[in-house]
Structure formats: structure tokens, C-alpha cells
């Protein structure tokens, strides 16, 4: 069974957008006045974490919907978007660490923003482990939904961390009151890369949800056979 039409369209658009974004970020954009060339990591790092936030927002909404309606489709979207969110958070942590080493001289520091991002990653890895290893799938879906909803509140905290505490991490320059503070020459490549990763995230979530629904159907068939003996 191949990808659905929605999946194929999202995949094609994502591929195109990521290719244009890579060209803009690595070739067309000028180097930063203070950081020089290494600032090009921003075109990957910032869109990765914003995409992870979008994926976890989908997990939050789908989990709330599951607790309210007990709809298996909502649970499939929740577990799928959480897995994809973990992939993008991992990329944001890795690229942030590489960028940190090149500008701060260290791979890691227990700064508020970095620590809250690591906590976010751990919460949703824990969620995926709960979903993978629990013996009773419906109880796992219920407890998982509660964990996903509670874990989501790390995101606004993480976003505001750079305003509330003195941190090594720079303040938000994209999502901030008064609009982005970045020069258009850097802002356009950043937005194109963000669009590319959001489309890629959408493609992954659609395909991963299809996988989850196949698993749900297989489990229902096995249960039916078991009851019939």
C-alpha cells in the first residue's frame, strides 16, 4: 500500500520547498555580520524546533479529542505526531549543540532554554515508551493522552524562558511581540525552510497515522479472532 494522494502531495511539496530552502540558506543568504557563515545553522535549527512545537500541538489537540470522544483516529494522530515531534526536537537539540560549540565554545550548557528543550524531548520519548510497552492498549492511550497534554505546557514555558531568565541562548527573533527582528535577507530563507520542514512534518504525520491505523485494524482483527476462538 503506497502513500495516499494527500501524502504524495505533501511529500512532493516538502521536497521542493526543502530544496529551495537549502539553496537559499546555504548559498543565497548573506553571512551574518557578527557570527559569519556558521549562522547558516539557524536555517535548520529554528525551523526544526518550531516544527516540533507544531507536531506537539497536534499531539495536544488529538490527545484532548481522544479523552473527550474516545476516537481511535484521534489517538492514531496523537501517537504519530508525538513520534514525528521527537524526531524534530532531536534535530533541534543536535543542531543547537553544534551551533553552540561553534559560537559559545561548548556542546552543552544547563541554560534554561536548552534544559527545557531537553525536558520536552524526554517527556515525549517517555510518552512513546509508555505507548510501546504498555500491555493494555486502551489504558496506554488514556494515560498517554494525559501525559501528552501535561507535557505540552513545556512549550510556552520554553518559549518564554529566554525572557524570564538570564540565559546564554539568544532571545526569540521570529515569534516575538512587534514582529520578527531579522533582516529580510535572512528572514525569507528562514521562512522558506520553516515551510519546508512543516510540510515534511505533515507528510510524516500522515504516513505515520496510516501505519497506526493499520496496526489498530490488525489488533481489532486479532481480538475478533480470539473471541471467536
Amino acid at each position: 500500500m503506497g502513500p495516499t494522494r494527500v501524502g504524495r502531495t505533501l511529500g512532493a511539496l516538502a521536497g521542493l520547498c526543502v530544496a529551495v530552502g537549502l539553496y537559499l540558506g546555504l548559498v543565497a543568504a548573506p553571512p551574518d555580520a557578527t557570527q559569519g557563515e556558521v549562522q547558516r545553522i539557524m536555517y535548520l535549527h529554528v525551523p526544526s524546533i518550531l516544527t516540533a512545537y507544531a507536531a506537539f500541538t497536534a499531539t495536544f489537540v488529538a490527545s484532548a479529542l481522544y479523552l473527550w470522544r474516545r476516537d481511535a483516529r484521534a489517538d492514531a494522530v496523537a501517537v504519530s505526531s508525538a513520534e514525528v515531534g521527537v524526531v524534530f526536537t532531536g534535530i533541534a537539540l543536535a543542531t543547537g549543540s553544534i551551533w553552540g560549540k561553534s559560537t559559545w565554545g561548548v556542546w552543552w550548557t544547563w541554560d534554561a532554554r536548552l534544559t527545557l528543550t531537553a525536558i520536552l524531548f524526554t517527556i515525549y520519548v517517555g510518552y512513546l515508551m509508555l505507548r510501546a510497552f504498555a500491555e493494555e492498549p486502551q489504558a496506554a492511550a488514556r494515560y498517554g493522552a494525559v501525559l501528552a497534554i501535561l507535557g505540552f505546557f513545556d512549550i510556552p514555558l520554553n518559549h518564554l524562558a529566554v525572557q524570564w531568565w538570564r540565559t546564554l541562548h539568544q532571545p526569540s527573533s521570529l515569534i516575538r511581540p512587534g514582529g520578527p527582528s531579522i533582516d529580510p535577507a535572512l528572514l525569507v530563507p528562514l521562512l522558506v525552510n520553516l515551510a519546508g520542514l512543516l510540510l515534511l512534518c505533515g507528510y510524516y504525520v500522515v504516513e505515520r497515522t496510516r501505519l497506526e491505523q493499520m496496526r489498530q485494524r490488525a489488533m481489532a482483527l486479532r481480538l475478533m479472532r480470539g473471541r471467536r476462538g
Binding site: 543542531t95 501505519l211 486479532r222
Partner: protein
């Protein structure tokens, strides 16, 4: 490591994660599809 070394490392790690996830997802989809077809085939044979 120079600036472009760090840039290459960051983009390389991200590409490996994204492509690796894509391949893992496709493999799991293939396996789940085969398992589901087998289960549905089994059910069809039992009914007939």
C-alpha cells in the same frame, strides 16, 4: 573545525535523521501492510 565544518555536521546530522526516519517509516508501513493483508486473507478463507 571551521565554520563550514560545523555547518556540514549540522546539516549532515539532520539529513541522516530525516532520511533515516523516512526509510524506517516505509519499512514499518510495508511490514504492517503485509501483516494486515495476511490477517484479512486468513479471515476471508475462514468465512468461505
Amino acid at each position: 573545525m571551521g565554520s563550514w565544518g560545523f555547518i556540514g555536521l549540522a546539516y549532515g546530522v539532520a539529513a541522516a535523521a530525516l532520511v533515516g526516519y523516512l526509510f524506517s517509516l516505509r519499512g514499518r508501513l510495508r511490514d504492517a501492510g503485509a501483516a494486515l493483508s495476511a490477517l484479512e486473507g486468513e479471515g476471508g478463507r475462514k468465512k468461505s
